[in-house]
């Protein structure tokens, strides 16, 4: 299996889907000859032309809205937002439009559109270029939300997202693009809505996704040296949430920690903990915990940003406190 970067895996997924499906086209800022600021659309314009790899003006609500209209008229747009933070500029089109038009039409229209964006901090990009929105977005019925952590998952899930026929918010992370991993060759996809156990363990279940999933794996190695074996679940899809995999895991471990980079307050960790209490209150031998960004905007200085966003060492400490 080739060992490629997360960015290359996404690029491959786009190329392959554009080859097999003429309905697929791309829109976004600087995605053409520039190839996207994180190179995800590199060289695609040479292969597919400027009609299918469309540079847009800096006007997110119109080009997301145009994606919606094109999707209703039979196309499969993949729309790139330069930063997830800019989804707020297009929030009406994502939340009031893409997520609801099918329902409000009684199922007569569909919106086969993927909105891709990278999110998260760790690069000192500041409070308007470092946010994570999956918890907000998960509050909106009608959106599928995907957040892969590895190159293989990124490729397989992007292909599934393009094929699903529904509106998908595809969440990438700016610090995952250069990470490498083995990616199967040829056409494969990964099902939406299916978590994966990335590490087996008997003592505690750590649920995470996107970049903090890598932190969780790193923390699990440290914990292993201390005699604690953590099972690490990669959600991969935020909505629909694969509770079955989580519930099955905590049956064995009895302990749960949810880790994400988005803010803890009213976040996905709280949701998962609530569902565990609703659906399997007796599985846990102690109260679950969550770890997310502290409730402040994301600062720039490295020391401050690291203090606000969860780090591998924070995961180790949180787990140790549960034993």
């Amino acid at each position: 299996m080739p060992n490629i970067t997360y960015a290359q895996a996404l690029n491959d997924a786009l190329r392959e889907e554009m080859k097999i499906d003429s309905r697929v086209f791309l829109m976004g800022e600087d995605i053409g000859h520039h190839g996207g600021i994180f190179r995800v659309t590199k060289d695609l314009i040479d292969e597919f032309g400027a009609e299918r790899v469309r540079d847009t003006p800096i006007s997110e609500s119109s080009f997301v809205g145009i994606g919606i209209g094109a999707a209703m008229a039979g196309m499969r747009p993949v729309v790139e937002l330069l930063f997830m933070d800019f989804a707020l500029v297009a929030a009406d089109q994502i939340v009031n439009q893409a997520a609801k038009l099918r329902y409000m039409s009684g199922g007569t229209v569909s919106i086969p559109m993927v909105v891709r964006a990278q999110q998260g901090g760790g690069r000192g990009n500041g409070a308007q270029h470092s946010q994570s929105f999956e918890s907000w977005l998960a509050q909106v019925p009608g959106l599928i939300i995907v957040a892969p952590s590895t190159p293989a998952d990124a490729k397989g899930l992007l292909k599934s997202s393009i094929r699903t026929g529904n509106p998908v918010v595809f969440i990438e992370h700016k610090l995952l693009y250069n990470t490498k991993g083995d990616v199967p060759e040829g056409d494969y996809s990964i099902p939406i809505g299916k978590a994966e156990i990335k590490r087996d363990g008997r003592d505690i279940t750590i649920v995470s996704y996107s970049r903090t999933l890598l932190f969780a794996l790193e923390a699990a190695e440290t914990l292993s040296q201390k005699g604690i074996e953590a099972e690490v679940i990669d959600l991969r899809t935020i909505e629909p949430l694969d509770m079955a995999t989580i519930l099955e895991s905590i049956k064995g471990t009895g302990r749960l920690l949810v880790v994400h980079e988005s803010h803890s307050n009213c976040g996905l960790g709280a949701e998962i903990m609530a569902r565990v209490y609703e659906q399997a209150p007796d599985s846990l031998i102690m109260p679950p915990r969550r770890l997310g960004a502290k409730h402040v905007p994301i600062p720039v200085a490295e020391s401050l940003e690291n203090a606000v966003l969860p780090q591998p060492s924070d995961i180790v400490a949180a787990v140790e406190a549960m034993f």
Binding site: T56, S61, G69, M104, G142
Partner: protein, 318 residues
């Protein structure tokens, strides 16, 4: 090709259907049979019929919450529209969309929208799809002059020109943005001048004359189909009723509304038909036919079933 006298009679009847539809909805609303809000298009029937009849059924269209007339003129079944208003399972959206979200892609109607200007990029997107698919379909977007200060509207103007989309923007300028005179809130209230500033071929027309509307949209569609890009049509019209049910209409005088009634599209079309040789009896017959269609739709809607509770949980994803 302009509307023939025979087609003009059809257009007259279609405008009457729309008028009577709205009158019926008002009555149902007053009886408490309709939930939510209702934004009538009474007085604006010519923009709907002239605009939608000038394009093909498989062309695309988006409109606004004041879009009952446009939806019906594009081909939405009056029965399905009435049933939707009454929240019945036979409604065009199975009772889930209601007054502000009439949708029927089988006639190109990609949706009325309850967010001002939000449907404009959807029409632009459908136009882009047509362009990418090498088809000759065009897309119409209806909106009011109240939409022209929304960011997404201005952004869409830019993209339509840059990408030379087969898009026809129809601004129904009825002088009032909800309950505020538009000139008080809009820098250049002759909105076609704004569009011209973006590089549009932009015209202002008498939106209360169905033939003028038809001709303007037909010529814009012909140009768009031939790859000539988008056109902006500012259709001057007047909303004879309030913004919505319960609007006290303190922003205008009764005299102003009375004067506008002399210029309203159905009266004008009737006069034109008489000029063309129709008799009062012909007009009465057309009125009666429209009345029958509405009565049929109402009977259909009232006798239709309400949705099953399980229907609340379907139609989210394919």
């Amino acid at each position: 090709m302009p509307l023939t006298p025979e087609r003009l009679q059809d257009a007259y009847r279609q405008m009457l259907v729309i008028r009577k539809f709205e009158e019926t909805i008002r009555s149902l609303y007053q009886q408490g049979k309709i939930r939510g809000s209702f934004h009538p298009c009474v007085g604006q029937e010519a923009t709907a019929v002239g605009g939608c009849w000038a394009v093909r059924r498989d062309d695309y269209m988006t409109c606004t919450y004041r879009g009952h007339g446009q939806a019906i003129a594009k081909g939405l079944s009056v029965r399905a529209a009435m049933a939707e208003m009454l929240g019945k399972v036979t409604g065009c959206s199975k009772g889930k969309g209601g007054s502000m979200h009439f949708t029927d892609p089988s006639v190109g109607l990609l949706g009325a929208n309850a967010i001002v200007a939000a449907g404009v990029p959807h029409a632009a997107g459908a136009a882009l799809a047509s362009q990418l698919q090498k088809k000759d379909n065009v897309a119409l977007a209806f909106f009011g002059e109240g939409a022209v200060n929304q960011g997404v509207f201005l952004e869409s103007l830019n993209l339509a020109v840059i990408w030379k989309l087969p898009l026809i923007l129809i601004c129904e300028n009825n002088l009032y943005s909800e309950m505020t005179p538009s000139h008080e809130t809009t820098s250049i209230v002759e909105t076609h001048k704004r569009a011209a500033g973006f590089g549009f071929a932009a015209i202002q027309v008498d939106g209360n004359d169905v033939e003028t509307m038809y001709n303007a949209v037909e010529s814009a569609a012909e140009k768009a189909r031939a790859g000539g890009g988008p056109t902006y049509i500012e259709a001057m019209t007047y909303r004879l009723w309030g913004h919505m049910m319960g609007d006290p209409e303190i922003y205008r005088t009764k005299e102003e509304v009375m004067r506008a009634k002399e210029n309203e599209p159905i009266v004008r079309c009737g006069k034109r038909l008489i000029e063309l040789g129709c008799t009062e009896a012909d007009l009465s017959r057309l009125d009666g036919e429209a009345e029958s269609m509405i009565a049929d739709a109402l009977q259909f809607a009232e006798s239709s079933a309400v949705p099953e509770l399980a229907d609340a949980f379907t139609d989210i994803f394919i």
